[in-house]
């Protein structure tokens, strides 16, 4: 066995580029194992344990790139290495071509765009706090798509931002829509009178899409990052968002989406919204209706319900189009007739909020024990995330699945593998999946997903909920049509899809 490798000094690429490159390199002829990583001490350790280490790598630092290939033919490896090195160059040409819009620092970006008012960060978490602070010092609002920022840094940034009247959305804020402009993972929705503040990324995407698809629109959708509503952060961004919507003349209805905030934060929110006459609707996933009693806030049960209530308060519709129970039961029955084996549901999510919402719905329907890697209060934690137990609902966007690879909304390979495994598993009766469209997400999802779904359909019926709009770059309508033609049950909201799955499980048990 031969190992060929090179330390490329002083080159930096973002993780997505490295992963794409690693994937391409691993597919080169004659390459049995390979790695393309930043030359950090941790990575060197990993390379050593993977027996992909060369002496020359010891001089690499966190500022360098390591490419290493393993195979049986040294000559072929050598050629593959040269090809790999060439892969790094198109980027340089690209920067030559688009030079006017590209810079290498915030400082020089601001000389090109002196009136910039928002800095959108998606660089590695360990670097982002310092850079975000620089942006705040330059009077820019900040959105942190990046995760892995310490709680301490989050508090520091948000406190500093608040004192200057600047938003710090995130860290781990996947989505926002500001003045109608989708930021990061967001959808092309209509503009309208509904303002949203959400501590949940896919939750925000789902409600804004559903509202838009119901014919209403969004004034602003402010993401806060999941930790904002914890005691330590104190809801700094959430409260700024609520206040902004209260003061915004375009916003007629306010919609809040998150897991239940810490009691202190909840009190502050309740106090704050007492100052507005606008209707406020809240989906605090997992909270009871009683918890909102005497707060003046309208209770929503799930994401679809929240979207419906918001639209209802704009006097658009009176009845929810999402929960025609008789219709759902009928579809559940037809799914059952197609189920040839097994008795359990396996739900594989790319959106964390959906994973949580589905468990809540299954818990409430009483389908039996539910297991998850991110369990609700009534679910159970999986011991091994790669081994499903009974009804299993997985969030494949959690760290244990995403280390070293892009988010499952961009890269379907991990989930595709799991879909086939679960479909063939004799225990599995139904598969439930989400498909999130919009900016940031996979631009041609069916190309990667459909072959897998077709194969899986030979073993199990599949329910897919599609989050998106017809204006999204992928086009929701076409995608839903193609999925349906393939024989997949397609729902336009996750709450419907999960309810449907739950009803089918109950029918199987003879309980409905």
């Amino acid at each position: 066995m031969f190992i060929e490798g090179k330390v490329v000094k002083g080159r930096y690429f973002d993780s997505v580029f490295l992963m794409k490159m690693a994937r391409t390199v691993s597919e080169f002829e004659g390459v049995q194992d390979s790695s393309v990583v930043v030359g950090s001490a941790e990575n060197i350790k990993i390379l050593k344990s993977a027996e992909l280490f060369l002496e020359s790598f010891s001089e690499a630092t966190g500022n360098d790139l390591i490419i290493v290939l393993k195979g049986v033919d040294g000559q072929i490896l050598n050629e593959a290495l040269l090809k790999a090195l060439e892969l790094m160059n198109p980027k340089e040409n690209l920067s030559g071509k688009k030079n006017n819009e590209q810079t290498q620092s915030l400082e020089s970006a601001l000389t090109k765009l002196p009136k910039a008012n928002l800095a959108l960060f998606s660089i590695a978490g360990k670097y982002v706090a310092e850079e975000a602070m620089n942006a705040l010092k330059q009077n820019l609002h900040v959105m942190l798509f990046s995760d892995n920022v310490s709680l301490e840094d989050e508090i520091k940034l948000k406190t500093y931002g608040r004192d200057k009247g600047l938003f710090v959305m995130g860290p781990d804020c996947g989505t926002a829509i500001i003045d109608g402009v989708p930021l990061a993972f967001a959808n092309a929705v209509h503009r309208g009178p509904i303002g949203v503040v959400a501590a949940s990324g896919t939750g925000l995407q789902e409600v804004t899409c559903l509202i838009s698809n119901l014919g209403e629109g969004i004034s602003q959708a402010i993401g806060t990052g999941g930790r904002d509503i914890k005691k330590e952060v104190g809801g700094i961004c959430f409260l700024m968002g609520v206040e902004a919507l209260m003061n915004d003349p375009e916003t007629k209805v306010i919609l809040l989406v998150s897991k239940p905030p810490h009691e202190d934060v909840m009190n502050k929110i309740t106090q704050k919204v007492k100052g507005t006459t606008k209707p406020v609707i809240a989906l605090f996933l997992g909270a009871t209706k009683e918890s909102l009693k005497e707060t003046g806030i309208h209770y929503a049960e799930n994401l679809a319900d929240a979207a419906f209530l918001a639209v209802k308060h704009c006097n658009k519709i009176n009845h929810s189009p999402f929960f025609d129970l008789e219709e759902l039961k009928k579809v559940a029955g037809s799914i059952l007739t197609r189920a040839k084996k097994g008795q359990y549901l396996r739900a594989l999510y790319s959106g964390g909020t959906f994973c949580y919402e589905t468990q809540l719905i299954l818990n409430k329907l009483g389908v039996g024990e539910v297991f998850s890697n991110a369990p609700t209060a009534h679910s159970f934690k999986l011991e091994n995330n790669f081994q499903s137990i009974r009804h299993t609902v997985l969030d494949l966007g959690e760290d244990e699945f995403t280390v070293g690879r892009p988010h499952p909304m961009i890269d379907f390979s991990l989930r595709n593998k799991r879909i086939i495994e679960e479909a063939k598993n004799p225990e599995t009766m139904i598969l439930l999946l989400d498909l999130v469209l919009g900016y940031g997400a996979h631009l041609n999802p069916l190309a990667d997903l459909l072959p897998t779904l077709k194969e899986a359909l030979q073993y199990v019926p599949i329910i897919v909920s599609v989050t998106g709009t017809d204006q999204d770059p992928q086009g929701r309508r076409e995608i839903m049509k193609t999925l349906r033609e393939t024989g997949i049950v397609v729902k336009e909201s996750n709450a419907q899809a999960a309810t449907l799955a739950g009803l089918a499980l109950k029918l199987k048990g003879g309980a409905v």
Partner: protein
């Protein structure tokens, strides 16, 4: 019409480029930052430097104003021992940061041997080597004696040197006469033909040139030649064809006037004409003359020296006095002459990176399309080298211009803080020496300075500031 949450949205996107898609579709003004992490330095140093931003800025403004004002003139010539401060019989000056005989690379050792033969201090190679390691010979960087030398950069006591004076501040710098290409001392060659040529340069060329320079009514303004050369396709480090031609034009009548006979005049003129790099040693001395007044300014993060001895790469900062910060000299990512490869190459060597330090050389690559193919690349590559250097410099030259960038001033004055925080290393345009003495140049290329000297300098610089 619509309400604006942040005012008219304008976005700086730092990270995933795909996030620009909606901005492009909706005509939202945006700029992409191709971000990279800073060089590895302590957070303590970062904090101190961040807290002293204003002071550093003021100090750098002073440093840059001096750099911009510099007016290097070619005022005369002399023998090293008579004009270079601290020069003595048993002292040999060399390129780059300080180094001992033991650690010198092949070409530098060869050049030292050659210098000892030239000075008549040794009869042959073995004697010269014994003398060099005996401790009787002292070695010192050119830079510590107001001098600069290309490649090995060897200057010994009796060598004739050009004298350049910065008319604005009065400071002097010195450099030898360029020997041409092939088997030459600066690449470590010391055969008899090398020594004979050096002797001819001392006995015949030097007196003629010295008189010619002195014969001029007005001193030759090197800044003027350099700025014209930039308009003519030189970057005055790796390409000096225009600079050499301009100097030749300026001196030719005086050489003819002062030469003892026609043959001497012809020989001197032919020597200059036959060596496209004749002007290099003057562009280097001029660069140093321009930068030196910006030394020793408290709180300034300006890089005042980048120099290599073929083993180490060293830099000095204005705000940290005469201290050197060094790292391993890198190999050049070069195009090699037929028959040679990277296996033959010596690590980067020479004081010539003083041109980049002054905003010329690789920093002015966009002015020198004529050599981009020689060093590997195309016109776009050349433009990008220069454009990128604006990220790490403090100013744009008020004198030296790049026609292809709409006569924008060259990126001038390297800021160690920007280098470290942006992780963009200075680009240097250079020739490559064979690792064995006396073979000569084996290729040419472009390289980035190593990161280590800059990280070290940044750390030390922070210690010179208030906590």
């Amino acid at each position: 019409m619509s309400q604006k949450l942040f005012g008219n949205l304008q976005v700086v996107n730092i990270g995933l480029e795909s996030f620009n898609l909606p901005f492009e579709k909706m005509n939202i003004p945006h700029v992409q930052v191709l971000w990279r992490p800073s060089l590895v330095v302590s957070s303590e140093a970062k904090n101190i430097i961040s807290n002293n931003k204003e002071k550093i800025k003021a100090a750098n403004e002073l440093a840059i104003s001096r750099l911009q004002k510099g007016r290097p003139l070619l005022v005369g010539m002399g023998n090293a021992i008579d004009v270079i401060p601290g020069m003595k019989k048993n002292l040999i000056l060399h390129a780059g940061p300080p180094i001992t005989w033991e650690r010198m690379c092949g070409p530098m050792k060869g050049a030292v041997i050659g210098a000892l033969l030239y000075e008549g201090m040794a009869k042959n190679e073995i004697e010269a080597e014994c003398l060099a390691k005996s401790g009787e010979i002292e070695f010192s960087p050119c830079h510590e004696h107001q001098a600069v030398g290309p490649m090995a950069g060897i200057i010994s006591a009796s060598m004739p040197v050009f004298i350049v004076q910065n008319a604005e501040f009065g400071n002097f710098t010195y450099s030898t006469q360029n020997e041409g290409l092939g088997k030459v001392l600066r690449y470590g060659a010391f055969s008899s033909e090398v020594i004979e040529r050096l002797k001819w340069m001392e006995k015949v060329m030097y007196p003629t040139l010295k008189k010619a320079i002195e014969n001029k009514k007005e001193k030759i303004d090197l800044k003027n030649i350099i700025l014209q050369a930039l308009h003519m396709g030189d970057e005055v480090h790796n390409r000096n064809r225009a600079g050499t031609s301009l100097l030749y034009r300026s001196l030719a009548p005086d050489i003819v006037t002062v030469a003892p006979d026609k043959e001497t005049a012809l020989a001197v003129l032919n020597f200059m004409n036959g060596n496209d790099h004749f002007f290099l040693n003057l562009s280097m001395a001029a660069s140093k003359a321009i930068i030196d007044p910006a030394r020793n300014i408290k709180g300034s993060s300006l890089v005042v020296t980048m120099a290599r001895n073929g083993t180490d790469f060293g830099i000095q900062l204005s705000g940290t006095g005469s201290q050197w910060f060094t790292g391993k000299a890198p190999f050049v990512d070069a195009l090699y002459f037929p028959g040679y490869s990277v296996k033959d190459a010596n690590p980067d060597i020479g004081d010539s990176a003083i041109t980049e330090t002054a905003g010329l050389g690789g920093f002015a690559m966009a002015a020198a399309f004529a050599i981009v193919q020689f060093v590997g690349g195309n016109a776009d590559t050349a433009l990008n080298y220069s454009k990128q250097m604006y990220e790490i410099t403090l100013a744009e030259s008020t004198q030296f211009q790049i026609p292809a960038l709409n006569f924008r001033g060259t990126p001038t004055g390297i800021d160690v803080v920007k280098v470290v925080e942006k992780n963009i290393l200075p680009v240097i345009n250079t020739g490559v020496a064979h690792k064995d003495p006396g073979v000569g140049q084996v290729g040419a290329g472009v390289l980035n300075a190593p990161s280590e000297p800059f990280s070290k300098a940044y750390e030390e610089f922070s210690k010179h500031l208030e906590r």
